[in-house]
Amino acid sequence: MRLLEKIGLVLFLLGMGVFIAIPFLGSYTLDRDLVVSNTKEIHQEKMGEILSPMYGKEYTSNFSFLSDFRSNFNSYNDQLKSQQLWDQVIWDDYGFALAKAAASTPVRENPWLWLGLSIGLAVIGGFLYNFKKYEGEPAGIKNNGIFHSKLKNRGWLGMVTGGFLILFYILLYWFPAYLVNLVWMVEPISKMLSGGSASQWFLYGLVYTMAILVMGIRMFRKYRGNKYQQLRTASVMFFQTAFAFLIPEILVLLNQPYFDFKNIWPLDYDFFYDYQIDTFLSGGGVGMFMLIWGILLIIVGVPVFTYFFGKRWYCSWVCGCGGLAETVGDPFRQLSDKSLKAWKYERWIIHSVLVLAVVMTALTIANYFSGFSLLGNVTNQLHSFYGFAIGSAFAGVVGTGFYPFMGNRVWCRFGCPLAAYLGIVQRFKSRFRITTNGGQCISCGNCSTYCEMGIDVRAYAQRGQNIVRSSCVGCGVCSAVCPRGVLKLENGPEENRIQELPIIIGNNSIKINA
């Protein structure tokens, strides 16, 4: 390892260490004013009363603070629940807001310093580690040692990384109150961008974007000499930074609804939720534009772009989940399961999620237009189930946390309802295919090994058969790693795109269907 890479690695690990340590810093003190200013008006009085035993006490960790908070809060709620006084139960979770307000920590006092020491060091370290990688070596495939790696072949480093990611996602989705210090750290950036206070989602967005940018630089280095990979990486870096991160914040600054213009239903599963629709409808011209834009993407954008370019236009050039998978996840792409069995599971699971998303949305819209007379608040329960099981557990915890175990496209392959929709168009009505180059395949297996979607590319290539698969995200890596120049992503006439009985050329003895 070169000196620069060593320095980079050390800085990165330091930054990560500080990031992990930050939630443990500082103390927490609550008083009635904080409770009042951080709860809804209807709960102010009650919450102020429930939490009064905590006032003035200095808690030395968020664990003791939150445990006390929960015991006070829960004993109140439990009592009401046991008396079946459901309408008096407080369903809102004020843990995060109160912990954030009660925190008295060095991070809150010096957010820039801690930001620099954690995310800053990690980003600089990651940059130093990557930006000169493979310097002095000829451009080419850089897969040396991947299956000898402790990180990339489910070794102990992979297990640790996966464990860390899973823990982070669990905290982020269900226990954000433990992360308030980290949120304080990014507060000034949020203030600068949107003028608003930072939430855990802002922290996540920032970390997510930084991760894509730094690992995007890694992609530039790794795939030097491969213009397709370079452009597609630049594209996901751009869409994440501008569309997913900056523009929504700036919209808020301009008093417009928060909106990610590239997020498409049903991946964006709450697009048709009543509160979203209300936001759009009350958002004036801009809100109306967002609503129409979102609908146009679903009914025109997806079919038309996918017809011309395949689902890759979205999945590996635009999408945020795809962006993370293609940058941060790239070192793990070889871990996807290529078995026929996995393909069967894939089709059942992903299409079930699509059906679930469609049914849920249809019920939501019907309910909305019937003025909630149809189902009342049943749709809310459906929403919270979907949000928990699919939106958080599947897309987040499994989707990213399982990178080091099952490859970088677990969510995209098994779960994403938009990928399922794009895939149906790609399979049945598209000009996209991966062409195989006559009889040149030597069945080596590089293509299948490095297919992040678990497609057994070789099975097609060695038969001389075009690859037309709903799951293919068109990342182009099979083509890149092929040592014999066999695979080419192409958009072309639909005629003969799907070859049921391919013929390998080169043998004039017989014309057989391999």
Binding site: P138, A139, G140, I141, N143, N144, G145, I146, F147, H148, S149, N226, K227, Y228, L231, S339, L340, T435, N437, G438, G439, Q440, I442, S443, C444, G445, N446, S448, T449, R458, A459, Q462, G476, S479, A480, V481, P483, R484, G485, K488, L489, E490, I504, I505, G506, N507, N508, S509, I510, I512, A514
Partner: protein, 450 residues
């Protein structure tokens, strides 16, 4: 009830293709494939990637393990010691026996050893089989500070790359004047040579191996070259080609020359015995530009699929189409279509060669006196097999080929459109009634520069 029992000896690409096609053509035949090397078919060409950590060994297996049972192809993982042709029986090294009705010999190759002193020392090996790979890992796991590779061909360069991955410096002894110049014309050979040196591999041209010297433990410690230079090394790779793996068949009723002698139907001199792939030697070369022994992945596959027809009663002579091949030299890919020999008769053959200024991309096209295409070599970019198969078969004029070169391009999107420069270079040298392509606006904005 199975109609008959066909036993295929060897589970490489030839044997396995034959077995698969047989099953497709005939439901009732009993098929057994025997291999002592590995139970399941794997891609020999990918062994280097296993060594370099690009893949695990399982990844080189093109079919999942259930495939064989599902298709009723019985697999026997044993070495065959002897074939009793009269009794139609195989005898395994374990002593067990297996009777057959028809036998297909597809035993592949073994690395050439030319009787060099010390060629069987520890630390000296070829690279062909799964066992060779395992031996390579063993041989390179201890204190190898320098390695010597003998023979500049495709396996040699693979081995050099594998050693480079292990950070073992390599000296490459090549008998010829240029790298692989018994196959490649001078410019291509030089291009590859430059790239090998760029990877810090020490190429010694026109140098042969004279002797391998042992240390006191029977392990290689140095080699002596034909120039009487001693090179200290702890590993020697013997990659001076391969020859048919048929020694266990010599001295039997079966006619064996360098390989098992076969006619165009892969029939040997014995009834119900056939040979395909690397181990077969045609009595008469299958085509003017072919050799009697074909040792390429693709020909092995074609042998297998053709013989399956004959075995199912559809007597089919081997009639290979337009020659094609490919390889990868470290980072540079190579493809060839049609006939491009290393040297040609300048009176009968015209030559067009273009090389990119970077020295890593090249294109050669040979044409006959009438300007009809004979074949192409391309390095560092990809060309479409289907296009050239058709062009060469239909004897297109080179002008037509060059004019349509954009269609022949098989590089990924946004890659440098080398065909533009090739078209211009061709037009400059030979003229011709076509307009070189122009860059599209997308290529201008986003595409890589030529």
């Amino acid at each position: 009830m199975p109609t008959r029992h066909i036993v295929i000896l060897g589970n490489g690409i030839s044997g396995i293709t034959c077995a698969r096609q047989l099953r497709k053509l005939e439901d009732q035949v009993r098929i057994t494939v025997i291999s002592g090397e590995s139970k399941y078919f794997f891609s020999r060409t990918a062994l280097m990637y296993v060594s370099m950590g690009h893949m695990k060994f399982e990844h080189t297996q093109p079919y999942e393990n259930w495939f064989w049972e599902k298709n009723r192809i019985e697999l026997i993982h044993q070495w065959v010691k002897e074939v009793k042709f009269k009794e139609k029986t195989l005898i395994f090294s374990s002593g067990e026996k297996l009777p057959y009705d028809q036998l297909v010999i597809a035993t592949g190759s073994k690395p050439n050893k030319f009787g060099w002193p010390g060629q069987d020392l520890n630390g000296v090996q070829g690279l062909y089989s799964k066992q060779d790979l395992e031996l390579f890992e063993e041989n390179t796991s201890v204190n190898v500070s320098h390695a010597v590779i003998v023979g500049g061909g495709l396996i040699g360069i693979e081995m050099a790359e594998m050693l480079a991955y292990k950070k073992i410096p390599v000296t490459f002894l090549v008998r010829e004047k240029g790298f692989w110049d018994n196959v490649l014309p001078r410019e291509e050979s030089e291009l590859v040579g430059r790239h090998i040196r760029e990877h810090h591999i020490h190429l010694m041209m026109e140098t042969e191996l004279k002797e391998i010297i042992s240390d006191e433990k029977g392990r290689v410690k140095a080699v002596i070259t034909s120039k009487n230079e001693e090179i200290s090394c702890q590993f020697v790779g013997l990659t001076a080609g391969v020859s048919p793996n048929v020694d266990f068949l010599r001295g039997t009723e079966l006619a064996v020359g360098r390989g098992v002698k076969v006619n165009e139907f892969f029939q040997t001199n014995l009834p119900d015995v056939f040979a395909i792939g690397d181990c077969a030697e045609f009595e008469k070369a299958p085509a003017p530009d072919r050799r009697p022994i074909e040792q390429v992945w693709y020909t092995g596959r074609m042998h297998g699929e053709t013989l399956a027809y004959t075995l199912c009663g559809k007597q089919t002579a081997y009639n290979p189409g337009i020659w094609f091949n490919s390889a990868k030299f470290l980072d540079i890919e190579y493809q060839t279509y049609g006939t491009v020999p290393p040297i040609w008769d300048e009176e009968k053959v015209q030559n067009f060669y273009w090389e990119h200024s970077g020295g890593k991309v090249s294109f050669r096209m040979l044409m006959d006196a009438q300007g009809k295409i004979l074949g192409v070599n391309n390095f560092g970019f990809r060309l479409r097999h289907e296009f050239f198969d058709q062009a060469i078969q239909e004897k297109w004029t080179v002008e037509r080929v060059i004019a349509g070169l954009k269609k022949a391009n098989f590089d990924p999107e946004f890659f440098a459109p080398y065909y533009l420069e090739i078209q211009q270079a061709f037009k400059k040298k030979f003229g011709g009634d076509f307009q070189p392509e122009k860059k599209s606006w997308i290529q201008k904005i986003l595409g890589a520069k030529v």
